[in-house]
Amino acid sequence: MGAQTLYDKLWSSHIVHQEEDGTVLLYIDRHLVHEVTSPQAFEGLKLAGRRPWRLGANLAVADHNVPTTDRANGIDDPVSRLQVETLDRNCEEFGITEFRMNDVRQGIVHVIGPEQGATLPGMTVVCGDSHTSTHGAFACLAFGIGTSEVEHVLATQTLLAKKAKSMLVRVEGPLQKGVSAKDVILAVIGKIGTAGGTGYAIEFGGSTIRALSMEGRMTLCNMAIEAGARSGMVAVDDTTIDYIKGRPFAPAGEQWERAVAYWRTLKSDEGARFDRVVELDAARIEPQVTWGTSPEMVTAIDGMVPDPALESDPVRREGMERALQYMGLVPRTPITAVGVDKVFIGSCTNSRIEDLRAAAAVVKGRQVAGNVKLAMVVPGSGLVKAQAEQEGLDRIFRAAGFEWREPGCSMCLAMNADRLEPGERCASTSNRNFEGRQGPGGRTHLVSPEMAAAAAIAGHFVDVRNML
């Protein structure tokens, strides 16, 4: 066999059976479960009289609907409460491990998997959530699935799948100070478009990626789906192995040595061929801000709101016009002239300890601007929150006028009480700026944690490089 890509290796090592047309029965090592996309799957299982194939492969947590304020009285919204209780009941009935709402290990599903060591290199990881691509940072084949597939994995520990094409996104050189993984992935999406990765599995490589922490790599892979790719991945190196060591679900002792030896093979071979290669020069990546209602509608902080009149493709032009109308923006406005009403630091893209440290470094000793109605930090998990509090980050945020909340998805998609009011503009570290995503009529600008913090202080978007 010739030189293989990381994706080739992950794919071929999980094939249970192959149909004539290339459809493969793929073995699934880890299945993460949350409350929104699982109830109908459990119901289907019960109706058919089936049991989960391998209980230990599953790990469940409620994240989308949980309140981020006082949890002592449970969930106010009866519909949300029923959904979370349904997960609790299903996990209890079937014997699936679940971190309940008041467990310190509770958090966003894509934060807790790696945090617990439940995400390990070489695994196939699936979850009924498109941002499952996050786990690819650990050289996993990780992808989001629908509810029918959740049921399929529960019942059979496999999925039917077809191999995707491969894309290498190579980023070389050191990043500028104040520029982070979020800016890299937004720049990638700006370059290839939100459908640019459709049908591909993306591997991120190059010296810039190797220099990133695991948190940064997770941010990158998290948004592979925003580039259209169902999965993103990064090869194993020392950074990966150091991160995993000692985590609750990680191997120990003799098994650790064996595992590490295997994990070290999880990278693309020299000379492996990709169907498409995209290259970026890290030095030229600037802090990014989205201006529209799709993550590809993005520009550098020193840029302007674009003018649709200059777009020649009519479908694109109309899309831009509609986006600007929704966003309440005038063409050619400098991005730094756009004010913000709310600031949200959180979501599975940017709610890990490193994200909070980076934001706190900008906020420290400063005050949230008077025109900002709400600035909030929502840690990705109870453990991230505890760690941040130990480091005193909560005090820095609070002193500056931020709210410090309980972990969950929160205003990333506003399924709980945290949301934008119609017309409100938000600097958000989340991953989607779709219409209504953060609340009906809400206007989302995607940025890095550093840039969100800077916007909170200035009251409008600013170049965080000038504040460091």
Partner: protein
């Protein structure tokens, strides 16, 4: 799953690119623990002038008269014309559930997002990909002509226009087989239960740490 063999249906054109699943079915309706009843909230934010919440009486809500799904000429449509990257965004299967519940059985467009595309097949909703020029022409014909219908034949892999022109489309053989026969994936997979067990046993030996907890 319901079978899909042939369909002769009224066509509704949704002329926007990058239609995401948040738009197809907004998140507040994802709190339901059921599989049915999402039809009234399909494209909720575009279809109604007010803000929708679960449990409302949707028949009393003010409709957006400009939204294409509300135009009387498209009432009863079962085929939707779409543009690039339809169904991008979240993995919610509620998106195909809402389309089906509304009465849409097939989508015809230039490209679909991967997870959405997959979810469609799991539910008997057929997404058909055609070249951009052909889709453009379908949009043109459909808007020009009231009562515009298409005939879809999955077995023959054809879409037939009212003017008689036949457009061929590709579909993966395995997906086609399942859809034509309305087969339940899980049942099919479990025929390979022995193979799965064998694979698992080998894996347990080679990578025991995956089975520790």
């Amino acid at each position: 799953m319901e079978k899909f063999t042939q369909l002769d249906g009224l066509v509704v054109p949704l002329d926007r690119a990058n239609v995401d699943t948040d738009a197809i079915i907004p998140k507040q309706f994802l709190k339901s623990i059921k599989r049915s009843g999402f039809g009234p909230n399909l494209f909720d934010e575009w279809r109604y002038l007010d803000h929708g919440e679960p449990g409302q009486d949707h028949s009393k809500r003010p409709l957006n008269p400009d939204f294409v799904l509300n135009l009387p000429r498209y009432r009863g449509a079962s085929i939707m014309l779409t543009r690039d990257n339809f169904g991008c965004g979240s993995s919610r299967e509620h998106a195909p559930w809402a389309l089906l519940d509304f009465g849409i059985r097939a989508l015809v467009g230039t490209s679909f997002a991967d997870i959405f595309f997959n979810n469609c097949f799991k539910n008997g909703l057929l997404p058909i990909t055609l070249p951009a020029a052909e889709v453009d022409e379908l949009f043109r014909q459909c808007t020009a002509q009231a009562g515009y219908r298409l005939r879809i034949d999955l077995d023959a892999q054809t879409v037939t226009r009212p003017d008689g022109k036949v457009l061929r489309f590709d579909v993966e053989p395995f997906r086609k087989y399942c859809l034509l026969n309305g087969l339940d994936d899980i049942g099919l997979t479990l025929r390979h239960a022995d193979k799965i067990r064998e694979f698992e046993a080998r894996r347990r030996l080679e990578q025991p740490w995956l089975f520790g907890q």
